[in-house]
């Protein structure tokens, strides 16, 4: 889901830590090192990496490709190949039948069955295209905040993991408890009350 879409979902983060200076060079080099690897004609079934916001399929990272105003803007790209289970089932049945005929046996060992399935998945992955999904990211470095344009669990987990892998700094998801702790200017006494808080009952 893109920033420029008519309807978006937003997950918010606090960025914990600082990058090595010069910051923009560190950011650029991090994006380059962890950019998306194409998996077309390869046996991999999934690839996760950074892609240019303005051109997520062919763009190369350079400063003007990720800096808009004071915002660091990038896309998280997740490419996935999905082979329908029934296709694997069909190919397996054909291949298993061939093997049985060739060997003259009437059964296949557990290992043989596994090898056949692995080979089928491998060869199908080489043939089928991956489906790309793009999720935009706006990082306001000075404010230590980051907006991620998705609310889905899987992309959120991929973002948190890729961000840490790229920059060795953590993203803290802002939900009510962390908002209270990090963004609400609470005193130590209030933080202590927060930690020991229990739900209110409005019906008694």
């Amino acid at each position: 889901m893109g920033i420029l879409s008519s309807s978006v979902s937003i997950t918010r983060y606090k960025v914990e830590g600082e990058l090595q200076k010069p910051v923009l060079e560190t950011v650029c080099s991090g994006f380059k090192k962890n950019c998306i690897n194409e998996i077309e004609n390869k046996s991999s079934d999934k690839s996760v990496g950074w892609a240019c916001f303005d051109n997520p399929f062919v763009g190369n990272f350079h400063r003007s490709s990720f800096l808009i105003g004071t915002n660091i803007v990038v896309s998280l790209r997740i490419d996935k190949k999905t082979i329908p289970a029934k296709v694997v089932e069909k190919e397996y049945a054909i291949e298993a039948n061939k093997r049985l005929k060739k060997s003259g046996r009437d059964f296949l060992s557990k290992q043989e069955k596994k090898d056949i399935k692995d080979n089928i998945v491998h060869s199908l992955n080489l043939k089928i295209p991956s489906i790309p999904n793009i999720y935009d990211v706006v990082w306001q470095y000075e404010e230590k905040t980051l907006l991620f344009f998705s609310s889905m669990k899987n992309p959120i987990e991929e973002l948190e993991s890729l961000f840490y892998k790229t920059f060795s700094i953590r993203l803290i998801n802002l939900f009510p408890f962390t908002m209270s702790l990090f963004k609400s200017n609470l005193s130590d006494a209030e933080k202590n009350i927060l930690i020991n808080l229990s739900p209110t009952c409005f019906t008694e």
Binding site: V8, S9, I10, V138, F202
Partner: protein, 175 residues
């Protein structure tokens, strides 16, 4: 040392209490909301409210749909101990209008429709539209932050039990 990931579930109720408090103020004391955030012109219920009842370890969810999200059903659910876990809202500020769904447990914004921006015709315009969009998204997140910060200060103070909870209980019992 606080385990941040465990705190998501442990303190999930804070978000639901926040949305319930927000609904209470929208219905009963919109002036109070305007005092908290003076940029507020109108804040109205949208077409969907999700109520969650986690009392006695039974997790029950009710979704209420329709314009103004049928307050009668919401009040009935509140009377059984449910709290607001998701709320669809419409926020107007001058000529601008944001529509969005806010989730209590995560404070995520979903189905966010921000005010219209200019249509871009060339590559150079994209940057301008982008900056305007980001500004509009930041505006709405800051708007929510203002209310949340106000809420959490009250929630952690003596006023919560002494005043706010009494008012909310009386509102629930009145209906």
């Amino acid at each position: 040392m606080i385990d941040i990931s465990a705190s998501y579930n442990k303190y999930g109720f804070i978000g639901n209490e926040f949305l319930t408090w927000l609904l209470f103020l929208i219905e009963n004391d919109i002036d109070e909301l305007s005092k908290i955030n003076n940029s507020l012109i109108t804040l109205e219920l949208g077409d969907r409210i999700v109520m969650e009842n986690i009392q006695e370890n039974v997790n029950k969810t009710i979704t209420i749909r329709g314009d103004g999200a049928s307050l009668e059903e919401v009040m009935t659910a509140l009377g059984t101990g449910a709290l607001v876990s998701e709320i669809n809202l419409s926020y107007k500020n001058n000529d601008q209008n944001w529509k969005f769904t806010l989730t209590g447990r995560s404070l995520k914004l979903t189905s966010l429709k921000s005010p219209k921006t200019i249509i871009f015709e060339s590559g150079n315009d994209i940057e301008g539209v982008f900056l305007e969009k980001v500004y509009l998204y930041i505006t709405i997140t800051e708007f929510i932050d203002t209310f949340f910060e106000h809420f959490i200060k009250i929630r952690l103070s003596k006023d919560w039990i002494d005043t706010t909870v009494i008012s909310i209980k009386s509102w629930i019992n009145q209906k």
